[in-house]
Each structure stands twice: as structure tokens, then as C-alpha cells.
Subunit: 117 residues, 2 copies
DNA sequence: CCATCATATTCCTTTATGGGAATATGTCAA
DNA sequence: TTGACATATTCCCATAAAGGAATATGATGG
């Protein structure tokens, strides 16, 4: 065995969102629950492509599935992005522009407040 | 041409941090500037491996390089993580537990305040 | 100038994985 | 039941990219 490739990443959230198409899917599913066909129609991708990406997202729990008859409805599970958020938080305090940061905090708080209503 | 592989991702910040070893390097470089040899010693990886990962990180500007004689000092450029942070922010407001969120905001603000001192 | 240290690069192999096409599986409606 | 619809899966190909080993390049000190 000469060359070992990268670690299997299909079970890693960081890798799951490294794929641009999967980010697009997540953005869609954050707004509303959608079936595979809904996504195919909205994104104009092939159905197997959508299903395959959904499978990866499901494996890392970034999406959840509800089956209703022959329809499989998928929805985003944003909580699962927290490990990434937590990791990035460690770097955040070193970002430039303290004042600018403060602004973003306030915006942050405001948006969370909105979400509660 | 039958199968097309994924988009070249070496120029994408999301992909850059999808690799666990690169995250480790970034964590190291956040604390202090280090030369390649410093990293080799600290991480016990081979020198080419360290150099290769640094190259990827440098391409996406997650690290910056300062050459001093034969030493190349690298440092993290945490600002470049903002695109990821921004993307995740769009999901954050949908996280469960509003109260819990508020707590993390306060912690967030506090840590930023600490960083300013 | 040259031996040595510091780093980068090249060559090679292997694995992961995305996309296409075809097909399988599952479910409903008439 | 059966045909049509919804989704998943399989097979195949092409490519990105990680790790190892060897080597090239760069810079210093003596």
C-alpha cells in the first residue's frame, strides 16, 4: 500500500457542506420542507443527483426525512451546523475591527430576537 | 467524457477547512506564528505533508507567510473564515432553544470584549 | 564556495467521490 | 392488478487530492 488517500469524509459535517450543491440544497430546505421532486424542479438537476446529495446530508444529519406516501419530504436540521459554528467561534475573536464586530453582534442578537417571534 | 468529477475545490475556503489536518494547522497558527519546522515538530507529521497543506491554506488566504532568511513563518488569517461564518449565520436563527442562544450571544460578546484588551 | 539546514515540489499510488445512465424499489390511483 | 409516478440505487468513468519517497530549490554560516 503506497498512497493513502484522505479520510472518508462522508460522515463529517465539514465535508458535507464543502460541496457547493449541498449548500444550495440546505439553503432551500431551510426555507421550507421539500420533496425530492420539488428540489429537482427548483434546481433543475437530475433526480439521482439530488437524491445522492440528500443521502450524504442525511448521513450527517443535516437534513431529516419524512415519508408521506411516495413522497419523501426533507427539511434542514440547522442545529447540526453547530460544530462548525463552534469551531469558527474560536477564531472569531481574532477578527479585525472590534467596532465592526460589535455591530455584527448587535445584528446577530436582533435577528435572533426576530426568529423568536 | 463520461463522468465529471467534482469542481476543483482547492480554491474554496469551505473545502480548505474540510480537511481535518488543515484545521489542526489553523488552530496552531492562531495561537502563534510558526515556521514549517515548528509545525513539523509540534505535529509530528512529515515536512512535505505540512508544506502541502500550508500551500492549500495559503491559496485560500487562510494563512499568510513571512519569510525570514531560510525560515518561512506562517500565521492564521482568521478573517478569511468570515464567508463561512456568514453562511452559517443564515441558519443560526433557526437553531433550537432561544434562551440557550441568548446565552451564547452573551458569551460571544464577552469573548470579543476580552479579545479587545 | 560548500555543507547543512529549511522548505517546496515532483512523481507515484491509492482512495473518495461526483456525475451520467440505466435500473431497481416503492407507492398510489384508476 | 397495473401503469404511472416518486425515489433510491447500482454501475461506470473521470478526476481531485492525500500520503510517501525522493529530489529540487533556497538560504545561511563558516
Amino acid at each position: 500500500m503506497a498512497g493513502m488517500a484522505r479520510i472518508s469524509t462522508t460522515s463529517d459535517v465539514f465535508s458535507a457542506i464543502a460541496e457547493p450543491k449541498r449548500r444550495v440544497i440546505l439553503e432551500k430546505l431551510l426555507v421550507e420542507q421539500m420533496s425530492v421532486t420539488d428540489l429537482v424542479d427548483a434546481l433543475q438537476w437530475t433526480q439521482p443527483m439530488v437524491s445522492k446529495h440528500l443521502k450524504v446530508l442525511k448521513e450527517v444529519k443535516l437534513v431529516a426525512e419524512t415519508k408521506v406516501g411516495r413522497f419523501h419530504y426533507y427539511r434542514a436540521q440547522p442545529d447540526e451546523l453547530r460544530p462548525i459554528q463552534d469551531w469558527i467561534h474560536r477564531f472569531e475573536k481574532y477578527w479585525g475591527g472590534a467596532l465592526e464586530n460589535l455591530d455584527s453582534y448587535l445584528t446577530d442578537i436582533k435577528s435572533r430576537g426576530d426568529a423568536r417571534e
